[in-house]
């Protein structure tokens, strides 16, 4: 039970990081984006290739992977700079699915075969403390984000989210914030990808399908604009609940698609509910 619990906690860290990456956009500038899994894929594959093919030390490989993902995030942010609303969301959806197709084709990612024998970041001993450190690091990262949100920069971003034109008219640097958001989201998603690679010790293109965003996106929506800690905790909670079917020994055939149906239905209900509640509050204020 301990090994499985540690594995599930590791998945919580991965999903928490992805949720944080989405939250940078959604709870920051207010854009709903669907490409963080592609950025996670960049991180995972760069780490896997450097660590297995080129025998880089894992820590250096991880740094290079996170940097690559950050750069990819920046490039994506530049590409979607002029889009808004559902157009932006759909464009990032295209980036996400298109990246999956690329991962399947390229020789450097070993195409459909994936890359195995991925080493751990800090050796194989003492898995429990490694997972504990990872969880603490995730909560610390969420704390840093919260601190930044309360700073001047965070206030400017909040103003841009609430009224872009109004904020622009008083000189808010929109493009700079779009770039920084892209960079940070890319870095955090890339870190999630690296952690997924060292958890499963194997990466393949199907690990980065857009449908995998269901849970981290759900966490961001359920957390409803609350603190980054809230996003991370909700993300972990959803993973624990969705893996709960395994713990209670539910029939896998029923559990598999039913779990996905249940998560999708719950997410839809929460999305509608959260949005309606927000509208009621805005109307009450107005």
């Amino acid at each position: 039970m301990v090994d499985l619990t540690l594995y599930v906690l590791q998945l919580c860290v991965v999903v928490g990081l992805l949720a944080l990456a989405i939250s940078f956009y959604t709870d920051g500038l207010g854009y709903v984006v669907l490409h963080p899994f592609a950025l996670a894929g960049v991180g995972a594959y760069v780490f896997a290739v450097l660590a297995t093919r080129y025998q880089w030390p894992p820590i250096l490989g991880a740094l290079a992977a996170v940097s690559s993902a950050a750069l990819s995030g920046l490039l994506c942010a530049e590409a979607i700079r002029s889009l808004r609303g559902d157009g932006l969301t759909l464009a990032t959806f295209g980036i996400g699915v298109g990246s999956f197709e690329l991962f399947r084709q390229l020789d450097i990612t070993n195409s459909v075969f994936g890359i195995g024998s991925i080493p751990s970041l800090v050796g194989d001993g003492g898995r429990a403390w490694q997972v504990g450190v990872a969880l603490l690091a995730l909560l610390l990262a969420a704390g840093l984000v919260r601190t930044w949100r309360r700073s001047v920069g965070g206030t400017v971003v909040a103003a841009l989210r609430m009224d872009e034109w109004g904020a622009l008219s008083v000189g808010a640097p929109l493009v700079a914030h779009q770039r920084v958001t892209g960079l940070l989201a890319g870095a955090v998603a890339g870190l999630g990808g690296v952690y997924l690679a060292v958890t499963a010790r194997f990466v393949e293109p199907r690990d980065f399908q857009v449908s995998g965003l269901l849970v981290p996106l759900g966490a961001v929506i359920v957390a409803g604009g609350r603190t980054p800690w809230g996003v991370v905790v909700v993300a972990g909670g959803i993973v624990l609940v969705s893996q709960g079917a395994r713990f209670v020994g539910a029939s896998p055939v029923v559990a598999g698609p039913l779990t996905e149906i249940a998560i999708a239905a719950c997410l839809a209900a929460v999305l509608v509910f959260t949005r309606l509640r927000q509208l009621r509050r805005d109307n009450a204020r107005g």
Binding site: G87, L90, A91, G94, L102, A264, A265, R275, L279
Partner: protein, 287 residues
Amino acid sequence: MGSILVAAIVSGSIYALVSLGFALAFRISSVFNLAHGILLVTAGYLNYWLAVQHGLSPWISVPTSLALVGALGLTIEAVLIPAAKTAGLKPVDLLLLSWLMLLIVQDVLAIAFESQSIYVGASQVREGWAVFGGRVTPLQALIVATSILVGAALFLIIRRSATGQEVLAVGDDPRLAMICGLNVKKIIGLNAAAAALLTAGAGILMSYQERLDPTLGFRFSVIAIVSTLIGFPLGPAGAVVGAYVLALFETLVLYVVDPGLRDAAVYAGLFLVLVWTYRRSLVPPEG
């Protein structure tokens, strides 16, 4: 060269039929409804269930499938989406909700049919007619002709008829249309029914032409969106033009770049057409 073009046109004709229904619905709702593809797949599977598993005649199974899926499409486009908009949900929320609905219906179909592919066509396979260096079967020729004729008819109806003008008016500004005395609910309903029937018809035709899987709904939703946006300046019927352009682009990537990147071409097309269509040129450049 001729055979490449013919293959692209045959692929494009299927895309066109699928896209027409979406384009019609999109003109009024302006919602990127990713769940639109489930109408296509559901119609195909329903027809298969009635015709093959229950042995009903196509004269019964096809109209029944069209009617039932038409009702489903009507419910989504004419009831759920307007209600959601009235409640204040934004287009991005509707996009996400449509994606979730697509996942749910796909899973339900996968459970109900045990993830089996279906094919309702004839077991006797004949060589197609020789056309410009390529080959086209009678059913494929019918699909090409249908897509062009329906597209042309839709173009004329939208541009020249009173109903078409009413659809455009409601799509542009439903409140103003209501103030001007148009029966907005009726127009939305008729439009939604037409869109759903077109898509359901496409799904049934496809099941006679090639195999359907529960997961195809997503791919065809994306194709429909890209085709609609490419042909947007021509109105809903422009989706036909957009579909053929997309099919040609896909074929070009297959031939010139890599056959394995054929699907990636669709998503690249999605990204490019969105960036092109939705540029906010009014945003002041940061100096």
